[in-house]
Symmetry: C2
Subunit: 374 residues, 2 copies
């Protein structure tokens, strides 16, 4: 801090780290992972669990804490975008405040998909100006995407993640076995993010998806290639996030898939999941990239072919070019006045453009609808 | 980031700085201070103003932005603890979301006392996971305390600052002339924090208050000693905050005055202001410190005498020892299981204790009530 006649300048530096740990049998009472952060003896844990997951595992979770003599309050929260709301945030804060925890030693535990970990992470990041939290993703989307970074948040009147914080978790615990019982649609939802990652940043991952993707999906990623794909996806995601965790740089490769159909899943009556909205964007962006000469025709065909093979192509007949354009305008505000649209420049490579025209978006939609009927 | 067979470790470092700038004639259209952060041309500003201040200055504020050709949305918010609520937070988020600003270049401006800057700071800290904000304190409490640090937040069901964030402002603009029209009770409210600062950390400031305090109060700090006291208070506050901005260390001198009557002002039907609650705590803590031999009898008398001279002694007949004890228990959770009570060890010096007993609190209250009747 420096002082002068004019006033003062306050400066600060801050660093920290967190661990993403793979583990198995998370609810086996002898597995210490869930209690590996904070105080164990005479302590309490506030646990937020996805309603569906809770239905299957409530007994095991309760037994885990009972056997470890930890006083637990379990709150079951319905998943789904409409529940990732400011109202759910306030209601969770109220529940937490009625189960007082120490500020540093009794981390909140979030068990669920992206909706649950984003919502709970935001509660943890703001209760008493921040208490630690642990994330346990139970969906593929959570496993490869939502849980590994530091973004938390909720939707505001259908505007996706409009309110939130950068809240590093104390720890992320990955138990791949949870994916085994996931409904197929939710497996595919996560595959869309893996697909996005491959197209924009990793040709080897793309090729692995071509070779093993359908089998991995059938095996719910419990097989060897599935493990490789999961590890690789997290590794690539972290490669991108690491140097830009707080989004000081607004041109972000990982925003690929999040420009033209941003928040499609939060519209009232939307039947869409987040990954499905991302996939629409990936296809529109790739078509647009091809028309600009950034992708060869054969590369675009290869991308569409893989999407078909993975069975992740959503219904495209209702693509709405004006809505896609509106989405770009909103993202431009989020990217501080510049479009900064990530486009694939060859499969696995990225470039950014700032001059997308409304006409181009419309043409890309028409072309994509033709392509997807092939 | 490091990877192993077990998982990944993600680490990060982050630094920044902000300026606290003294200025005059803030709303003179040729004064660039209010537009010194962010884009000036073809830009927008979302401005949150204390209702009382707005009544006096709405014309000047509007003219300022009009003359500078900045598109402005002014939201007037009532001050007072009951308005520092989660509901007010959500309502302000909604208003902001209807006046879209760019994420980095169009800072939110908060003009008001601690309630307004804490509330608006929290909105800014969480809208789009953080947009920049500027603070313009208009009360003495805001000037020497609320606006200079990085804490933002709102009350939850009467629990003071239970939800919030550490949100460094982009800039703090101090215009001392705003204090000239403040009601006397709000001047005294801020004086309580200055008094606290003096007792726990600054004998010279204490002596200056003894010599000039009553005159400064009468002059609403528009005089020379008033300027000295304001500058000194901010300097001392920053000395303390600088190395512990994010409260990594939970034993904090600045928590003096915030242990036994924590959040008294947020109780339903409370007639208390924040500074008044702090003052009660300062007096209880000092009495307790004297009974432990940390303060001499003469020092305690000197503290009480100055409080009388400054006319800041609140009604003490209703001191409620069980409520003070409950407050300590709650603060102990906030301080992660240890009391960490700051007590004066001689005037201007601080020590921390962890073994305050309920009996001691009761005795101190009785003794204080006797003292204050002298």
């Amino acid at each position: 801090m420096t002082a002068s006649a004019r006033g003062w300048r306050v400066s600060y530096h801050r660093g920290a780290e967190y661990e993403i740990r793979k583990c198995a049998e998370l609810f086996n009472p002898s597995n210490e992972s869930l209690l590996s952060v904070g105080r164990r003896r005479r302590s309490r844990r506030f646990v937020v669990v996805d309603e569906n997951f809770h239905r299957l595992h409530s007994g095991a979770i309760r037994r885990y804490f009972a056997d470890n003599e930890v006083d637990v309050r379990i709150v079951s929260v319905p998943a789904g975008e409409p529940n990732k709301s400011v109202e759910a945030y306030v209601s969770l804060l109220d529940a937490l405040d009625q189960f007082p925890i120490d500020r540093r030693d009794e981390p909140i535990i979030a068990i669920g998909g992206g909706v649950i970990t984003d919502l709970t992470g935001f509660v943890a990041g703001t209760y008493r100006r921040g208490v630690p939290h642990i994330r346990v993703p139970t969906t593929l989307m959570g496993y490869v995407d939502a849980s590994v970074g530091i973004k938390t948040g909720v939707n505001l009147r259908g505007h996706k993640n409009r309110v939130g914080a950068f809240t590093p978790p104390a720890r992320v615990l990955l138990d791949r076995s949870f994916l085994a019982t996931l409904p197929r649609r939710h497996i595919l939802n996560g595959v869309c993010e893996v697909f996005k990652l491959a197209v924009i940043s990793d040709l080897a991952l793309f090729e692995k998806l071509e070779a093993h993707g359908p089998d991995c999906i059938a095996a719910h990623f419990q097989d060897e290639p599935g493990l490789w794909i999961l590890d690789r996806s997290i590794q690539r995601m972290l490669d991108e996030l690491q140097l830009n965790l707080f989004e000081d740089e607004l041109a972000r490769k990982m925003d690929f898939g999040h420009t033209f159909s941003y928040g499609l899943e939060t519209c009232a009556d939307s039947q869409c999941l987040h990954g499905e909205a991302v996939l629409i964007d990936v296809l529109v962006s790739s078509t647009l990239a091809q028309s600009r000469g950034l992708l060869k025709r054969s590369e675009l065909d290869r991308i569409v072919r893989l999407a078909f093979a993975l069975d992740i192509i959503p219904p495209l007949h209702s693509l709405d070019p004006p809505a896609l354009w509106e989405s770009l305008l909103e993202r431009t505000r989020h990217r501080n006045g510049w479009q900064r649209v990530p486009l694939p420049h060859g499969i696995g490579k990225c470039t950014f453009v700032n001059d997308v025209q409304q006409d181009e978006v419309r043409t890309s939609c028409v072309e994509l609808m033709a392509l997807s009927r092939v």
